[in-house]
């Protein structure tokens, strides 16, 4: 591998880790997801620093072209992350639904004292998040 590409790889690994750490610091990324991203970033740096790691792993697994191994592992990792995100989205959706149902029931208890206001709040909600 020529020198430029080598340093490009190392630099992008550091950029990923740096961005992740900054996002965690600003609390845009939380919990499990932050951990996964940091691990991926560190993995990228290691592979960039020591390209022989990839070659040796490829030989050990019987993969002729090392780059193919990298692409394969990369797509597996992405697939897992996407599945996780889908599951998370489903869970959040379900929780939002339950909350909406509870809000509706609570509103019936609060009664119609502030009904016009409740309606206008509901209308605002709709404007922001139009029904399916």
């Amino acid at each position: 591998m020529n020198g430029d590409a080598y340093w490009l790889g190392v630099a992008s690994g550091f950029v990923v880790v740096g961005v992740v750490i900054e996002m965690v610091r600003r609390r845009y990324l939380r919990g499990r997801f932050a951990l996964v991203w940091i691990l991926l970033g560190v993995g990228a740096i290691l592979l960039a620093l020591f390209p022989r790691l990839l070659e040796r792993a490829a030989t050990a697994l019987g993969v002729t072209v090392p780059l193919n191994l990298l692409l394969f592992l990369g797509s597996i990792a992405m697939l897992i992350m996407i599945m996780q995100l889908s599951a998370e989205a489903g869970r959040l959706r379900e929780r939002t639904r339950v909350l909406a149902e509870e809000v509706a029931l609570l509103r019936t208890l609060v009664g119609s004292a502030d009904e016009p206001r409740a309606r206008s709040i509901a209308a605002e909600d709709r404007d922001q998040d139009s029904p399916r």
Binding site: A100, E101, E102, A104, L105, T108, R119, R126, R132
Partner: protein, 244 residues
């Protein structure tokens, strides 16, 4: 935790943009079962459904955004469970279900957990033709076999549920397409509830338009099959009742 509903019947009316029909529905339900409480669940309607229903004398739960019939019904079931109602009757907000049949549905709850008002079981003149009819027939025989009881109209939303069913549905009421009709029956079966049907006559829709036409029927049948399969493989754990 309330006790307002102890031993009483709660009629839950899912309504989405039914301002024109809802007052009539509330009035006829009141006439048919004067002792029952009525909860209209307004599913984020853009019209005056909530206000009209309240003016007609119903209790109204207004969802902040559209959740579909499943979400609306689960709201009703959750309310029923919390307040201790002994039966929940689902009546559509478009006036197609005739509340005069509610007492018969309730009577069927003496021996069963769920009573489905069936449009094709002999009473009335509700006719559907062409592919939609075949799809519904196919569905009926499939569901009857699966449920080991005769169900001519598994997609009917005119139903009554007893206390055990209320507990189950307060937790699990599917929100997906057809989940509110077919999958709920599968859930009933998997939860050990018994289901029966009561012949009812269906009125024709007088305001608005039905949510699905006949052209999409075969696709619907396919999707129905998927819904039932999903319902069968999913788990529906009934969490022990922790509330007093």
């Amino acid at each position: 935790m309330g006790t307002r509903g102890r031993g009483k019947v709660l009629v839950v009316v899912p309504a989405y943009n039914e301002a024109e029909a809802i007052a009539g529905v509330v009035a006829s339900v009141t006439r048919a079962v004067p002792t029952a409480d009525i909860l209209v669940v307004d599913d984020g309607s853009c019209d005056a459904t909530s206000a009209v229903a309240r003016a007609a004398g119903a209790r109204v739960a207004t969802l902040p955004f559209n959740l579909g019939v499943g979400g609306a019904m689960r709201t009703g079931f959750r309310h029923a469970k919390r307040e201790g109602y002994s039966a929940v009757v689902q009546v559509d907000g478009d006036g197609q279900h005739d509340p005069a049949f509610i007492p018969q549905l309730l009577a069927a709850l003496e021996h069963h957990d769920v009573a489905v008002g069936a449009r094709f079981a002999g009473t009335g003149d509700y006719v559907v033709r062409g592919p939609r009819r075949w799809a519904m027939r196919g569905l009926a025989s499939g569901m009857s076999a699966l449920m080991t009881t005769r169900l001519d109209d598994a997609t009917s939303g005119f139903r009554a549920c007893g206390p055990r069913a209320i507990s189950v549905y307060a937790q699990h009421y599917p929100a997906e397409y057809l989940g509110d009709t077919l999958e709920t029956l599968v859930i009933a079966r998997k939860s050990g509830l018994t289901v029966t049907q009561v012949p009812v006559a269906m009125r024709h829709r007088n305001t608005g338009r039905p949510s699905h036409g006949s052209a999409r029927s075969s696709v619907e049948l396919l999707r129905a099959g998927c819904v039932v399969m999903l319902g069968l493989v999913r788990e529906w754990p009934v969490i022990a009742d922790s509330s007093p």
